[in-house]
């Protein structure tokens, strides 16, 4: 049984601005809630039994990484979450996942770079990228020129769609 409060881990302000224009259109304000962390132990190592398919979820927005991992865990996967590309690589050095689901635009190491590394360390891992950013297209094109082809889903991905895509 999983019993967790849904909590925002950080106060989030989404500011929408128009380039070159003074001021901004609006702010989306998502206040941080006090309380226990939203998601629990699945951010550790994969369970050892090996029956379930192991999924590594990577997104610099921890809320997304954690919620996707939670959804997968609730649907028969063994999923863990990481909030940066560097952390994710640390994790796959320890153990290869069967599937890696990663955001593309991240601060330190982007999803494409991560995916290339995964390809070399864990050649059997399936790589699924998801992104809400139009700039992704050019990153993918660059990768394809180098001979890398990755599956990509547009954000927002509805959980049912994601589960379908992962083949459950």
């Amino acid at each position: 049984m999983i019993d967790k409060r849904i909590n925002l881990l950080v106060t989030t302000i989404v500011r929408v601005v128009v380039e070159g224009a003074p001021g901004h259109l609006f702010d989306g304000h998502f206040p941080k809630e006090n309380g226990s962390p939203l998601f629990g132990p699945e951010s550790g190592l994969f369970p050892k039994d090996g029956k379930q398919r192991r999924v590594l979820v990577v997104d610099d927005e921890s809320l997304i990484a954690d919620s996707v991992a939670a959804i997968l865990n609730r649907n028969g996967y063994a999923a863990i979450s990481r909030y940066s590309g560097v952390d994710a690589i640390q994790s796959i050095h320890e153990q290869c996942p069967d599937i890696i689901v990663s955001d593309v635009v991240m601060p330190d190491l982007n999803g494409i770079q991560l995916a290339k590394t995964v390809r070399s360390i864990c050649p059997n891992a399936r790589i699924v990228l998801f992104s809400g950013n139009v700039d992704t297209a050019s990153l993918l094109e660059d990768a394809s020129l180098e001979g890398y082809f990755f599956e990509i889903l547009p954000k927002p991905v509805h959980p049912l769609h994601l589960l379908k895509a992962l083949g459950s």
């Binding site: 049984m1 999983i2 849904i6 989030t12 989404v14 500011r15 929408v16 601005v17 128009v18 380039e19 070159g20 989306g28 998502f30 927005e61 809320l63 997304i64 919620s67 996707v68 939670a70 959804i71 609730r74 635009v105 399936r126 998801f130 992104s131 809400g132 950013n133 139009v134 700039d135 992704t136 297209a137 993918l140 394809s144 082809f149 990755f150 599956e151 990509i152 889903l153 547009p154 954000k155 927002p156 991905v157 509805h158 959980p159 049912l160």
Partner: protein, 617 residues
């Protein structure tokens, strides 16, 4: 005086010789028109000399000598006295000629022998002490009039030498008719260059009462020397005038041609600002058939509202002598609105007054449209940047919230009521996601090309609009082979089809029908490419011609409150990015409705194992 000035045609009025030129050692050659004026001239000449106490030698025909004598007596000249003391010597021209002419030519020696002693004798008789002799010789005239031109010239030359040596003032005469043909023109030249100071002369006197006569003689002299030249000159002038007229006609034709070749609308206005002229291209541009439709009308009345004020301002500027200019919109005779760039300039009369005005208007409609498109493109780019920013900032929270709702809903033990509410929340969120994609518009499918099943695509799209379709009770009829597929970008195809579907729904009335048909086909116009054609038809309101013309123009919308005006523009570009094309038919009225149809090529099959693995793994 230079003899040349007398023989060239452009010296129409030879200067009268001065008294000084005539007084000593000069040799004047009058041109004799008729006896009366000849004698009048001669009596002046001789009378002047005798009256002044000088010696005078006259060699003339018998008749002329007699007549001269009579005239001198009339002038109160004491001819017998002058003859008596040797100051007036009259000799017969024929006899003198016989004394020195040898074989039709004057002999130098004989001439000197005949003339010199007489001149010397006359000198002695001079009262004035100047020892100057005034001589008149008709021998040259006789030779000339009988056609011995060379002899006449020769004699003239001999006289010239003698005159210089003995200080004689000599006068010879020539018949006028001897100089009227071109062949003798050259002889005339020779005559005047025959001896030093040969001057054309009419008379040595300058009494006022002789002015009329002087004038007559002068004109005769002029006539004699220049009549041929005048004729030639007249012919030349005529030819020049004809040439100038032809040139003027060509210039006029050229100017007309230039004005009428120009696309610009060229107008001439009178001082009241009324139209005097409008060029044919201008009439065509303004869709008038006859120039009479515009002539006499006030030019400013062609403009409306603020443009009329601008036109009036420009007109005033031009009337004040400056250049008036403005840009404005003008409605043609049939109501077409065009943008014009107008310059209006004054035309001044010779005294500097503004006589009329020329207005040249250039049709800048296309330019204006292009500028508007450029402005729109800039707006679009700005909107695109904004959309990218918004998309990025909104999609992440949407993703998180969607996940959280799912987790909440699937939490065991959630009350049924809460679960139902979460379902609603989930659906509303899906609408937000859809809205973000649609109204932010610039959906870009990041995925690689893949096989897209068309039947599924259509079902997905109809599912998106299920609620709208249900509310408007619109029936959908789909005809599609379930196996139909193309290799392309699913997201973009879906976006294109959903835009078209949304438009069809908006155009449909309650209870309308939308037909959707997809079939495999070939694109006949593009090298028989195989592909699919998706046709979407509605029996909605249809479009006006104006709307039809502009539906692909960015930011053009018939739904200003809800539309962005980029749906069809984006749709068209998405389809074209896939190598396809979009066409449409639309009409209003009885069988109103719109048919949108697009072709997309099947696309190249990529069969690399890796690609397959990525798609289907």
């Amino acid at each position: 005086m230079d003899s040349e000035s007398f023989t060239v045609g452009n010296a129409l009025v030879p200067a009268a010789p001065s008294e000084a030129e005539l007084s000593h050692g000069s040799h004047s050659v009058p041109f004799l028109g008729d006896d009366a004026s000849f004698l009048e001239s001669l009596s002046e000449f001789a009378g002047g000399a005798v009256g002044a106490g000088n010696a005078c030698l006259v060699i003339a025909t018998q008749a002329h000598r007699q007549a001269l004598s009579d005239r001198l007596l009339l002038r109160n000249i004491d001819v017998p006295g002058a003859i008596a003391n040797g100051r007036y010597i009259a000799m017969d021209a024929q006899e003198m000629l016989a004394r020195f002419m040898v074989d039709g030519t004057p002999d130098r020696e004989l001439f000197a022998q005949a003339i010199e002693p007489v001149l010397q004798r006359a000198k002695l008789g001079s009262l004035s002490g100047s020892k100057d002799v005034t001589a008149f010789d008709e021998m040259v005239t006789l030779l000339w009039s009988e056609g011995f031109y060379e002899a006449a010239i020769q004699l003239e030359k001999l006289w010239g030498e003698l005159v210089e040596r003995l200080h004689v003032s000599l006068r010879c005469g020539y018949p006028l008719d001897g100089f009227t043909s071109a062949s003798q023109h050259e002889l005339l030249r020779k005559l005047f260059s025959a001896s030093p100071p040969v001057v054309a002369s009419e008379s040595s006197t300058s009494q006022p009462d002789e002015e009329v006569h002087r004038h007559l003689v002068r004109s005769l002299q002029q006539k004699a020397s220049v009549v041929q030249l005048a004729l030639e000159e007249r012919e030349r002038a005529m030819a020049q005038r004809l040439e100038a007229e032809a040139r003027l006609r060509r210039t006029e034709q050229f100017a007309k041609h230039v004005v009428e070749s120009s696309d610009d609308c060229v107008k001439v206005l009178d001082r009241d600002g009324r139209l005097d002229y409008m060029s044919p291209p201008g009439l065509r541009a303004l869709e008038f058939t006859e120039v009479s439709e515009v002539l006499g009308k006030r030019w400013v009345d062609f403009w409306r509202g603020e443009d009329r004020e601008r036109a009036a301002g420009a007109l005033a500027d031009a009337m004040a002598g400056g250049v008036g200019s403005f840009q404005g919109e003008c409605r043609s005779a049939r109501g077409t609105i065009k943008s014009w760039d107008v310059r209006i300039t004054p035309v001044r009369s010779a005294d500097g007054e503004v006589e009329r005005l020329v207005a040249v208007s250039r049709d800048v409609t296309e330019l204006r449209n292009a500028q508007q498109v450029a402005v729109q493109a800039e707006k679009l780019a700005a909107a695109g940047r904004m959309a990218a920013t918004i998309a990025h900032e909104i999609n992440n929270p949407l993703e998180a919230v969607t996940n959280l709702i799912y987790l909440a809903k699937t939490t065991p033990g959630v009350p049924k009521e809460a679960c139902r509410q979460l379902d609603i929340a989930d659906r509303e969120l899906a609408r937000v996601a859809q809205l973000a994609q649609q109204t932010l518009g610039f959906y870009r499918d990041n995925s690689r090309n893949r096989w897209v099943n068309i039947a599924e695509l259509i079902q997905d799209v109809l599912l998106l609009y299920e609620r709208k379709l249900r509310i408007k009770q619109i029936e959908t009829r789909v005809a599609c082979d379930p196996s139909l597929a193309i290799y392309g970008k699913q997201g973009e195809l879906k976006q294109a089809l959903s835009n078209l579907t949304a438009n069809a729904i908006d155009a449909s009335a309650r209870g309308g029908t939308i037909w959707l048909r997809a079939q495999g086909t070939r694109d006949w116009s593009h090298g028989m490419q195989s592909g699919i054609r998706i046709t979407l038809a509605d029996n909605g309101s249809g479009m006006t011609p104006e709307v039809k013309r502009r539906i692909f123009v960015p930011f053009f919308t018939t739904k200003p409150t809800v539309g962005t005006g980029i749906g069809l523009w984006v749709t068209k570009s998405l389809i074209e990015q896939q190598g396809g094309h979009l066409q449409f038919r639309s009409q209003q009225g009885q069988k109103a409705g719109t048919v949108m149809s697009f072709f997309v090529p099947t696309g190249k099959e990529e069969s690399s194992n890796e690609a397959e693995a990525n798609i289907h793994a």
